[in-house]
């Protein structure tokens, strides 16, 4: 190993005892990080990547047990260091750490200033004024406007993105040599994610830090990391230079992961690769390769013997009996046929199933214990229409009103203005049972969308029971047919949701939505709670079912690669309004609205070697309670002018796309945005 190594981990294991057995969260991994380098650790949930991060400074939960041959940090063995030594010399001093949840990772009862300065005063004998000056300096650096006044603020006064910036500043207070970022952008919206990644990258280069970036997002890691380590079931299955690993994956799991990402294989309209099955729980003794049960290349040897570590070049190795080579590279799934529906717009005019006309929705909310009620305009005169058999993707960041819109469309929320028309009838006028036969939802979180007290059979068959369709036996048969259709084994009929994996639950939720054979299905972020390999399975299933059952989808999502893969048309929402709506290819390749453009730019496709783009967006997503005047996007818009601040634009049709922007006609190149408009920092967005 090179002498320039700042961190050298050998044989690190973490075990977590549970009621019945011991979970092997990390199984003897070794890592090496050089000064100034960024290592990306990638893996799905349960792969042990976060445990690895926490184990370095021994921040594991109390019950977890850590063992390591050595954790050599710049000559000190952290595996041997006492808790006190770690706290005094390492934590916050030489290694800084950023966590996933900015909303909960800052202490809510202390001011930002205190939390920043104490990091410094705890370790160094400096005056409060010095620490404060450093804090202001860093806050400015991480891009918080008006940093001096921020010191008096409390975490709840900041938005998620701002809090994450504060977290970064806090980690940098003592100029650490190593920064560990554990999923730093997962909880953030895509535009914010790009900003934060950009910031991290800049700071790292400027300060010459090393960084460990932990993420599940291959797109993120491909842009931000020099080296990559792919983790699966507590072990590093493949590691090496980012470009090499992603361009030339050797381990079947790495390859599978890449195939699962929509858009990676250059293909909208192409069926996604998917890794069957689920991550096994690493308890008891592990025989053979942990991936064997899901691996299409697995041979008998894989199930009995632990595969050896095969080095390809220095610092690049994989752990597999039968690695993928260029010759043997083949897709993991059997069928790769392109699906027809989304392949090209059909020539025949199709009837419009669902029309949303000028729908507005206003809530009244009280903020805090002492606050007054204020109106919150969640939807502002939204209009949409969906044709039979079409997939319309509704895209937007959190808080933009897309969930309210989908609830309004389903009739679960009555609009305060406008109307939703389903097959020519106003949805409010439809009796609930009749409405239910026409439109059904699939929800984001398969853990909350299934009643934990009911069996899967009950859940899927419930609509039949509610609508009194058929006899008990017929209902049962119908349910079984539906389970087969959505790919659920018949044996789970009497199981409870708790006993199913996330993917299986989502299949059950799909089954329940489709058992009444509705015309329109509202898919509200159906895959965002799932791991990427499972997401692929579900997306494939949805497309298959659409073809088979002639369904119409309203597909609500924030994930642009999913949009690109699934949608026929795209509607982009911002702050309760549809700012752009049109044909998928048109919108995605030639966005007219500056917000759409920023969204498209912030979608990080897997492109090793490319950097994180600078979006030119200022500020964060505003709170809909304080809706800006004029065009609601103007405070963040890089091309806003006086006109935008004064008057809200109306929708206009450009090409085949409806756009709401004064400047949509002005053609701006996709890259090379104008620089950040500094004067636009007046947008003080607020906490939830």
């Amino acid at each position: 190993m090179s002498t320039a190594s700042i961190l050298d981990i050998r044989e690190l294991s973490v075990e977590i005892p549970t009621e019945s057995s011991t979970l092997k969260a990390v199984r003897g991994i070794s890592l090496d990080l050089k000064r100034g380098e960024t290592l990306g650790i990638v893996g799905e949930s349960g792969s042990g990547k976060s445990m690895t991060a926490l184990a370095i400074m021994n921040l594991l939960p109390p019950s977890a047990k850590r063992a390591a041959a050595c954790i050599n940090f710049d000559g000190n063995n952290l595996a041997q260091a006492s808790e006190r030594q770690l706290a005094r010399d390492v934590r916050g001093q030489r290694i800084g750490m950023i966590f996933q949840e900015p909303m909960t990772s800052l202490n809510p009862v202390y001011s930002i200033g205190r939390q920043l300065t104490e990091t410094m005063t705890l370790h160094r004998d400096v005056s409060a004024a010095t620490a404060e000056a450093r804090a202001v300096h860093l806050l400015e650096k991480v891009g918080l406007p008006d940093p001096a006044s921020r010191l008096k603020q409390y975490p709840h006064e900041l938005s998620g993105g701002q809090r994450q910036r504060v977290m970064i500043a806090m980690a940098l207070m003592n100029e650490p040599e190593l920064l560990i970022a554990d999923e730093p952008t997962t909880a953030l919206d895509v535009t914010i994610q790009a900003q934060i990644l950009h910031l991290l990258r800049d700071l790292q280069q400027e300060l010459g830090m090393s960084m460990i970036l932990i993420t599940h997002d291959l797109g993120v890691v491909s842009r931000a990391a020099d080296k990559i380590a792919v983790m699966y079931a507590g072990d590093i299955v493949e590691t090496g230079n980012t470009t090499e690993v992603l361009k030339d994956p050797r381990h079947p799991y790495t390859q599978g992961l890449l195939e699962c990402v929509p858009g990676y294989r250059n293909g909208a309209a192409q069926r996604l690769g998917a890794i069957p099955g689920i991550v096994p729980a690493m308890t008891g003794t592990v025989q053979g390769c942990a991936f064997a049960s899901r691996c299409p290349r697995a041979v008998d040897l894989c199930r009995t013997d632990v595969p050896p570590r095969e080095a390809v070049s220095p610092g690049r190795y994989y752990v597999c009996h039968d690695p993928v080579t260029h010759d043997t590279a083949k897709p993991l799934t059997v069928e790769t046929a392109a699906h027809e529906g989304a392949a090209g717009p059909s020539q025949l005019p199709k009837p419009t199933v669902l029309t949303v006309e000028q729908v507005s929705c206003t809530f009244s909310v009280r903020r805090g214990l002492f606050g007054k009620r204020k109106p919150l305009k969640a939807l502002n005169e939204v209009s949409l229409s969906i044709e039979k058999g079409e997939i319309l993707a509704l895209v937007g960041e959190s808080g933009c009103g897309k969930t309210t819109l989908s609830r309004t469309i389903m009739g679960l929320q009555s609009p305060s203005g406008g109307s939703v028309i389903l097959n020519g009838q106003r949805i409010e006028d439809l009796p609930p049972l009749q409405r239910a036969r026409m439109i059904q939802p699939i929800f984001q979180d398969p853990y909350s969308s299934l009643n934990p007290r009911k069996t899967i059979g009950d859940i899927i068959g419930k609509p039949l029971a509610v609508h009194r369709i058929g006899t008990k036996a017929e209902q049962r048969a119908h349910t079984h047919r539906m389970m087969e259709l959505v790919g659920l084994p018949a044996r789970v009929f009497n199981s409870y949701p708790d006993q199913l994996s996330g993917g299986q639950r989502q299949r059950a939720a799909i089954g329940r939505a489709l058992i009444m054979n509705p015309e329109v299905v509202i898919c509200d972020e159906p895959t965002s709670a799932l791991d990427v390999s499972v997401q692929a399975q579900i997306l494939n299933l949805l497309l298959d079912l659409r073809d088979e059952l002639d369904l119409t989808y309203l597909f609500v999502t924030h994930n642009l690669s999913v949009v690109e893969h699934m949608a026929d048309r795209v509607a982009v929402m911002y702050l309760g309004e549809i700012v752009e709506c049109g044909d998928r290819d048109q919108v995605m390749s030639d966005p007219k609205h500056p917000y759409t453009r920023a969204l498209m730019d912030s979608a990080l496709s897997i492109s090793p070697g490319e950097t994180v783009p600078d979006l030119g967006l200022s500020g964060d997503f505003p709170n809909p309670i304080n809706r800006p005047s004029g065009c609601s996007f103007h405070p963040r818009c890089p091309i806003a002018e006086q006109q935008c601040r004064d008057k809200a634009p109306a929708s206009e049709l450009i090409d085949t796309t409806l756009v709401k922007c004064w400047k949509a006609g002005v053609s701006v190149g996709r890259s090379g945005n104008p620089s950040i408009n500094e004067s636009n920092n007046n947008m003080e967005e607020s906490a939830p």
């Binding site: 809510p108 009862v109 805090g368 214990l369």
Partner: protein, 305 residues
């Protein structure tokens, strides 16, 4: 903020009125206050005289509003039984109850907080199990029985403390123990779970990542958060102790508000019961309001909304 205080104050008033009218009606319909005033062996004529004189023959609502009118002028009426102004009665009895409440609250705090904190710091060890079994036992011991046992042991067999009464600090030791013990389980459990929650929170992990450890981690990072629910529960417990140490005051023959209330119930001494309940309700609401304000001071999220 002011708006909030006013709203809560209005709520408190509404609650107090509702409750006091309820009690008023209850007693007037079901008992004969005239007989109470006249006494056990009183002749019939006397009872009738009293009935007329006090106006017990008038409609209940009229009587209630007369009383309420008095209260607004600061006149809580005269006790039927004690024949003296209720205000004086309450002044005489309040001291003991306040003393007892504060003493027992101290007992609660002294037992529950250290136990709860040590249990939370070492979950699933013997400390934790000891704390939990203390809580379970304290929850199961009938208050009055504990009082009797303490009297047998510490006042009669080993006469360290007086049996009953309320004249010196020594009189308050046993009652404070009994009353204090009754709130130990609630406060202990809340302290333990509250601190456990805080300690397993993300921001404590952040603090550890910053290098905080040991007492600094607890005092400078966790305590303030863990205090929030404890402040509320202590306020509630103090409220209950100020209003209802009925059992303890009876067992130890202490002349506090709780016993006054019980005797007034037994004597159908309506003005006294009325006023006491009004005061208990107001005290309770004010205490919880105070707790909310303390919490608002501790927690900027509440303060700023």
């Amino acid at each position: 903020m002011l708006n909030y205080v006013l709203r809560r104050g209005f709520m408190a008033l509404l609650v107090a009125l509702t409750v006091s009218f309820g009690t008023f009606a209850l007693f007037h319909f079901a008992t004969d206050p005239a007989q109470t005033i006249a006494g056990e062996d009183a002749p019939q004529e006397m009872v009738d005289d009293i009935r007329e004189q006090y106006g017990f023959d008038r409609p209940v609502s009229t009587q209630y509003f007369n009383w309420l009118g008095g209260v607004l002028r600061g006149d809580f009426g005269e006790s039927f039984f004690w024949k003296q102004p209720v205000v004086e009665l309450i002044q005489e009895h309040a001291g003991v109850t306040v003393m007892l409440a504060l003493a027992s609250l101290s007992v609660t705090i002294l037992i529950a907080l250290p136990l709860g904190i040590s249990a939370a710091l070492r979950p699933n060890t013997w400390v934790d199990r000891f704390a939990l079994s203390t809580a379970v036992s304290a929850q199961a011991v009938p208050n009055f029985w504990l009082g009797l046992m303490l009297i047998i042991v510490f006042a009669v067999t080993f006469p360290i403390f007086p049996v009953s009464g309320d004249s010196t600090w020594r009189h308050f030791v046993l009652p404070a123990l009994v009353l204090g013990a009754s709130s130990v389980p609630a406060v202990m459990r809340l302290t333990r779970t509250g601190l456990l929650d805080v300690l397993s929170s993300d921001y404590i992990r952040t603090a550890r990542a910053k290098g905080f450890i040991g007492y600094r981690l607890i005092l400078q990072q966790a305590l303030r958060n863990a205090l929030l629910p404890i402040v509320s529960v202590l306020a509630v417990q103090l409220g209950y102790k100020l209003g209802g140490s009925v059992v303890t005051e009876s067992v130890f023959s202490m002349n506090g508000l709780g016993r006054l209330a019980v005797e007034s119930i037994f004597n159908s001494d309506i003005p006294t019961v009325q006023s006491l309940i009004l005061i208990f309700v107001l005290t309770f609401v004010l205490l919880t309001l105070a707790a909310d304000l303390i919490n608002a001071w501790l927690d900027p999220r509440i303060r700023m909304g």
